[in-house]
Assembly symmetry: C2
């Protein structure tokens, strides 16, 4: 495996230095949607929250939970990346979310009571803080500031899902890919690229197979391969060390503004 998104030796130092607040992807701020919950808390809050957490270490592809599970914890990514997805009755996998360092996930299912709606697997070697439902709600109850932040994060997710929904309903595959790449570039801009970016280039610093992209945008793997080849031929993106670099961000952004080509 390449060194893309390699978990930091000490995940904590990583969490504390992440800050994407200045990246804009035109309209929605991805950094906002993928807000770093943990680093938004004060030292004290962080301590109060993590003191009742368990650490989990996951290897790539390890399953954290599956739909139907009773597990009722909230999780925070300490290092690595978690893929959250749903499988339809026809067997098709749809990726709903990637959770990166510092992000909290599983929160939306706490208030449902019974069971998980989605699947969560480690997209690479990943470290997790696991917090029991009860501990987490207690924490929120006793830390109003943190509760507000939780509301902010859920709000961001609502907005983000809304955007994705609109895109899925009205854009063609090329546009959906363009949007995805720009968003992921914004998320991963915090981690410096293994092989350096040329001026003006954006690095999509996440390990994504064509199948992953297909599952993220609701398309078939073949179409993704073809469309990506097309974007490459036009010089909009290029492959570097098995991940994508956006050569001309404005090129892709124009694609988005124009809608379907």
């Amino acid at each position: 495996m390449s060194d893309i998104s390699r978990p930091a030796a000490d995940p904590f130092s990583d969490i504390m230095t992440h800050d994407f607040s200045s990246i804009d992807d035109g309209g929605d701020t991805w950094s906002d949607a993928h807000a770093n919950f943990l680093s938004s808390l004060s030292q004290e809050e962080t301590q109060d929250l993590l003191k009742c957490s368990r650490r989990l270490d996951l290897k790539s592809r390890d399953l954290l939970f599956r739909a139907g599970d009773r597990s009722n914890d909230v999780y925070i990514v300490a290092g690595g990346c978690i893929r959250l997805f749903q499988v339809s009755t026809t067997g098709k996998e749809t990726i709903l979310w990637f959770s990166f360092v510092g992000e909290i996930f599983g929160m939306a299912e706490l208030w449902r009571g019974n069971s998980r709606q989605i699947h969560a697997v480690a997209n690479e070697a990943t470290q997790i803080y696991s917090i029991r439902r009860r501990d987490f709600t207690d924490f929120l109850g006793t830390h109003p500031e943190a509760a507000m932040k939780a509301i902010g994060i859920l709000s961001a997710r609502v907005r983000s899902l809304g955007h994705i929904l609109v895109g899925l309903a009205s854009d063609n595959v090329e546009t959906r890919i363009a949007r995805l790449l720009i968003r992921f570039a914004a998320v991963s801009s915090g981690m410096r690229c293994c092989s350096g970016t040329t001026e003006g280039e954006l690095c999509v610093n996440v390990r994504l197979t064509h199948q992953d992209i297909a599952n993220l945008i609701g398309a078939s793997r073949q179409t993704v391969t073809t469309t990506l080849a097309h974007l490459r031929k036009r010089g909009a993106v290029r492959m570097v060390n098995h991940h994508i670099h956006i050569v001309r961000p404005d090129h892709l952004r124009r694609l988005l503004e124009l809608g379907a080509a």
Copy 2:
């Protein structure tokens, strides 16, 4: 206009008696997603919240806010129904949400600061409580219980949007319509149907044109018309007073379980 979803003379009495908690739509509980925020609050909380609210009366099709607006209020539906949608660059309208009596909306955009992401129009004559951002956040800060409920509602919306997303990515139009109808039947089960339902029948007590349905499920109006005609021919649904009755709910549910036919 027919008497579908006619706002009650006194919206309050309506709000207080609504309770969909027993309706299940198989998997997700629509009633949960469309939780009645207002009636979930205690008498005291309700008073504290509404004392700083303004009442707005909207005629059918009145615009409450549009994308880009600076308006930063949260709203609660006192009577009627609000359509929340986004328009893509190509002019295609995607409906993200319908807010019914008692529901709160606009909340997800409070934490964004700058501007509205979506459009909101009255789907019929509608009464609204409008609460300023500041008042609302203060309210949440001083009423932890209510803050928790807000989190619960946002969580439900996240789950619901996730479901819709998965459906959009992997189901065909017929399945998406079936799912939509069942969900809306569950929501509107609280209001009794103007013309009575036969035993075992469900009434989709919402005013929806084929175009609306198309915008909700990401399809073209023509396809919706055809598919609905098909479902009618097969006896799964029937038209009563210009709204839809689900004659055989289990028929539609089977459709969902099987996935694409």
